[in-house]
């Protein structure tokens, strides 16, 4: 597969990042994982990914980050034509109601995962979001049958004939 759909994780605490990335391991062969410790770094990583002809399917983002916080980052990314279509998930123990409302209204937040998370929860959110992403972007569902939600993908296959990708 030349063109790749990335998962981006933004988290400043290294141990937490370790644990998150480890829990995403089973997706990694289909959806390479990239990481960033700050919003700035995240934006650089995103630029590199798009520059090499790839795209980002899912962003998992902590809220409390040094410099620009997670919600503001997601709002900014929502304005970019490239990352507007990426699925956005807040993974945090500290975003207050106000910030969360802001994220839902302005960043079109797709999901909220409270810390501490469980591997099952994280995996089901990641699977649902990525399934939705590949269906919405009209990728060939057959390529993702083994790793994503095969029921939804089959439905999509019945409803829409896939276009070339």
């Amino acid at each position: 597969m030349d063109h790749q759909i990335y998962i981006l994780v933004v988290e400043d605490e290294l141990e937490v990042m370790d644990a998150l990335v480890n829990d995403l391991e089973e997706y990694e062969e289909t959806f390479p994982v990239e990481t960033a410790n700050t919003s700035e770094e995240a934006k650089n990583v995103i630029e590199n990914i798009y520059n090499s002809g790839n795209e980002i399917g899912l962003i998992l983002c902590d809220h409390v980050l040094p410099g620009q916080n997670g919600v503001d980052l997601l709002i900014e990314l929502q304005k970019e034509p490239t990352t507007k279509i990426s699925k956005k998930v807040l993974v945090t123990g500290q975003a207050g109601l106000e910030d969360t409302v802001l994220a839902i209204n302005k960043a079109d937040l797709d999901h909220y995962i409270a810390k501490p998370w469980t591997k099952e929860d994280l995996n089901s959110v990641v699977m649902n979001q990525l399934t939705e992403f590949v269906i919405q972007q009209k990728y060939n569902p057959l390529e993702f049958m083994t790793i994503l939600d095969s029921v939804k993908l089959s439905e999509a296959l019945r409803d829409n004939r896939p276009t070339d990708h």
Partner: protein
């Protein structure tokens, strides 16, 4: 003066009574009222003027709120309806007879005619009117001055009430604050106990896991790699990305990105061991060993952090000890920093905690002072803002704690008021529920026998200086 007037009124009355007996058409004007009879009502147009010959009459005025007030007690010789006569307005009062009353009733329109017809009465009546008016005027003056002194009294009482209220408000705030601290203390000690147990279990389990994994000879590659995992600190995303490129050169046959990422976290020495051992032990197994070590290390780091946080939270709130004891002020500062670590995390914090003598004080209360000042600083400092805490001794008996930042400083117009109760620049409740303000900090330091001073540095930023005396308990 007043006595002379009454006498002359009595004389005049006697004369008038006498005249009435003699003149028939005057006698026909005499009217009688019994006790509680209403002679006229407030708001009525008054066609008559009455000259009171016998018995007392009270003028009563109904007020807007429905209550009524006795305005004037009229005696024989007084006129009723005098104001109505001179102004032509409806009566301002209701006249009520207090006993059997005899009065001369003269139609207002005919008043002048009567005086003309009976020249003998003209002079005494005029005198009576004068006496009546001066009586009412004196009454007025008396009332006016009474009202003035009443107003003054009222104002004074109002002022006292205001002071009492503000004192009450003040002590209420302090009580609420104490209550908050007490509740926090209870919560913390309960919480600390509950959290310490699982934290201890985590730490013990991690150690047992290490022993299980190390159950191999020291030079065994698996054990060596496990040790690397156990001792190496996690890398930043940037470092991981760079190391991943190294790994791709070092192990070009490993395609799985997740495996490359895991290898990227290992130090170069680990690669040598993997190269040597990979004929006998699959790389995947060694990576697993490294991961095991790394995660146990993470468990240890995280649970140590929990234990330390709980410890500082406990000593920070000092619920168990609210008595003064010999303390090292720096311990409290360190606890406060740990408790506030979440807020201080992105500031450039410099500690210069020089050796200071022990002194008698309440650590928990002093921690509120450090918290107040540090939280205020966090509120105004941007990420990367500089915060400096310094302790030193001046002479032998003075401990000085200096907290300074490179923020916007304290606006000159409020710098004199920041230690006043209820002064705040925030419109929201303070975070933590502790930052009840610098007023309480000021009070705490004062109770410790010291003082607190705020200033702006020449080069910009605020500086708080706290001076505490060195004393025995």
């Amino acid at each position: 003066m007043r006595k002379g007037m009454i006498n002359s009124r009595e004389t005049i009355l006697r004369f008038i009574n006498h005249t009435i007996e003699e003149v028939d058409d005057l006698r026909s004007l005499v009217v009688h009222f019994k006790e509680k009879d209403v002679i006229f009502r407030q708001g009525e147009k008054l066609p008559y003027l009455f000259l009171l010959l016998k018995g007392n009459v009270i003028l009563n005025r109904k007020r807007d709120d429905g209550s009524s007030l006795d305005i004037l007690n009229l005696e024989p010789g007084h006129f009723l309806g005098l104001i109505a006569l001179t102004t032509g307005n409806p009566s301002l009062t209701t006249a009520i007879a207090q006993e059997d009353v005899r009065a001369l009733q003269i139609r207002q329109t005919e008043f002048e005619t009567y005086l003309a017809d009976h020249p003998r009465l003209r002079h005494p009546i005029q005198q009576l009117i004068m006496s009546n008016l001066s009586h009412r005027f004196m009454n007025n003056v008396k009332l006016e001055s009474e009202m003035h002194s009443l107003n003054e009294k009222l104002e004074e009482e109002g002022k006292q009430l205001k002071e009492a209220y503000s004192k009450l408000e003040d002590s209420h705030q302090k009580l609420v604050h104490q209550e908050k601290m007490a509740t926090l203390g209870e919560l913390v000690s309960g919480f600390a106990h509950e959290v310490n147990n699982p934290a201890a279990a985590l730490l013990r389990s991690a150690e047992s896991l290490i022993r299980n994994f190390r159950n191999l000879p020291d030079n065994d590659p698996t054990a060596l790699i496990f040790n690397f995992g156990l001792t190496s600190d996690p890398l930043s995303s940037n470092q991981v990305r760079k190391r991943m490129l190294v790994v791709q050169k070092e192990f070009p046959w490993i395609a799985e990105r997740s495996q490359v990422r895991k290898l990227a976290q290992m130090p170069d020495e680990a690669y040598q061991i993997i190269h040597k051992a990979r004929k006998k032990i699959p790389v995947e197994q060694l990576i697993q060993q490294y991961e095991a070590g790394k995660f146990i290390h993470n468990i240890q780091a995280a649970s140590t952090r929990i234990a330390n946080l709980v410890k500082s939270l406990k000593s920070y709130s000092r619920q168990d000890k609210n008595e003064a004891e010999l303390i090292d002020v720096r311990d409290g500062i360190k606890d406060t920093i740990l408790v506030l670590s979440n807020r201080l995390k992105y500031l450039d914090l410099k500690l210069e905690l020089n050796e200071i003598p022990l002194t008698c004080g309440k650590l928990g209360e002093l921690n509120q002072v450090w918290t107040n000042i540090l939280v205020n600083a966090c509120d105004v400092l941007p990420d990367g803002g500089r915060l400096k805490i310094r302790t030193k001794v001046e002479g032998e008996f003075k401990i000085i704690v200096e907290i300074s930042d490179n923020g916007p400083g304290i606006p000159v117009e409020i710098i004199d008021r920041i230690f006043e109760p209820n002064f705040t620049t925030k419109n929201q409740g303070a975070k933590f529920g502790l930052g009840l303000g610098l007023a309480i900090s000021n009070e705490i330091i004062r109770q410790h026998g010291g003082f607190i001073k705020a200033s702006n540095k020449k080069e910009g930023g605020a500086k708080f200086q706290i001076l505490l005396p060195v004393k025995e308990c």
